[in-house]
Subunit: 144 residues, 2 copies
């Protein structure tokens, strides 16, 4: 997929990428097994934690030496608008599998959906390729 | 240090472990350079994020398939009392460098101090040995 080229990461198991791009509403409509319906949300929870870890690591290594500054700069880096911008650059919206209602509302252009999906993609990379793969990609995508 | 034996991890650079065990109040009293004073707090911020990442990963791999359950079980696993218990088993209190006021108040027995220091030690392991080292240790210390 072109998204893999833009990420600079090729999934060994495309299942993870596919699930990261599938909204719960779409999965429910397709009557997929319940076990899969929440995958995007679960990956997002994981991706959010991975992203926080890498951003804090990068901020420490960049020389920030106060906890307050690390916390505030991390919060600024993981703002919805910023994540949505990165998501747009990666062209994630075009690959999203949305529920019918979401499609009508053009959810693939909504910053919160784009931001959530970027987090889910990060979670998927973690599950497919481990923490080091995520770290390399986050370092490329974010400007500390 | 005995704490390394109990952790099953030997620091390549003892500096990281030393900073994780040094409370800000002690560092300030010793008039150490400002850059080091907040190290324990910074490591704690990092360790908290690493811990969250690993716990979510372990919960997903244990088969939990709802985001709500992952979130609630993660919260339960990272409760202050639980972290303080693990800290006690590792004997962390005996190695803490406390400020004078903290020493008087026996802060080395306070659950919140023990919990915070465990997080700082996890952050120190990340900085010394990387994510994989942390993951192995967290898997041993926590029962999912």
């Amino acid at each position: 997929m072109a998204i893999e080229d833009k990420l600079g990461y090729t999934f060994k198991n495309k299942y993870f990428l596919n699930r990261a791009l599938t909204r719960k509403a779409f999965a429910l409509e397709q009557r997929q097994q319940n076990i899969e319906c929440e995958d995007q949300e679960i990956y997002r929870t994981l991706g959010d934690a991975v992203l926080k870890t890498v951003l804090i690591d990068l901020l420490i290594k960049s020389g920030v030496n106060s906890r307050g500054e690390i916390t505030s700069r991390k919060k600024s880096l993981e703002r919805e608008e910023g994540l949505a911008d990165i998501s747009k650059k990666l062209g994630i919206g075009a690959y999203l599998k949305l529920g019918k209602g979401e499609s009508k509302q053009k959810a693939d252009e909504e910053p919160y959906v784009l931001a959530e999906t970027l987090e889910a993609v990060i979670g998927a990379i973690y599950l497919d390729g481990g923490f080091a793969a995520c770290k390399g990609i986050i370092e490329k995508l974010f400007t500390i």
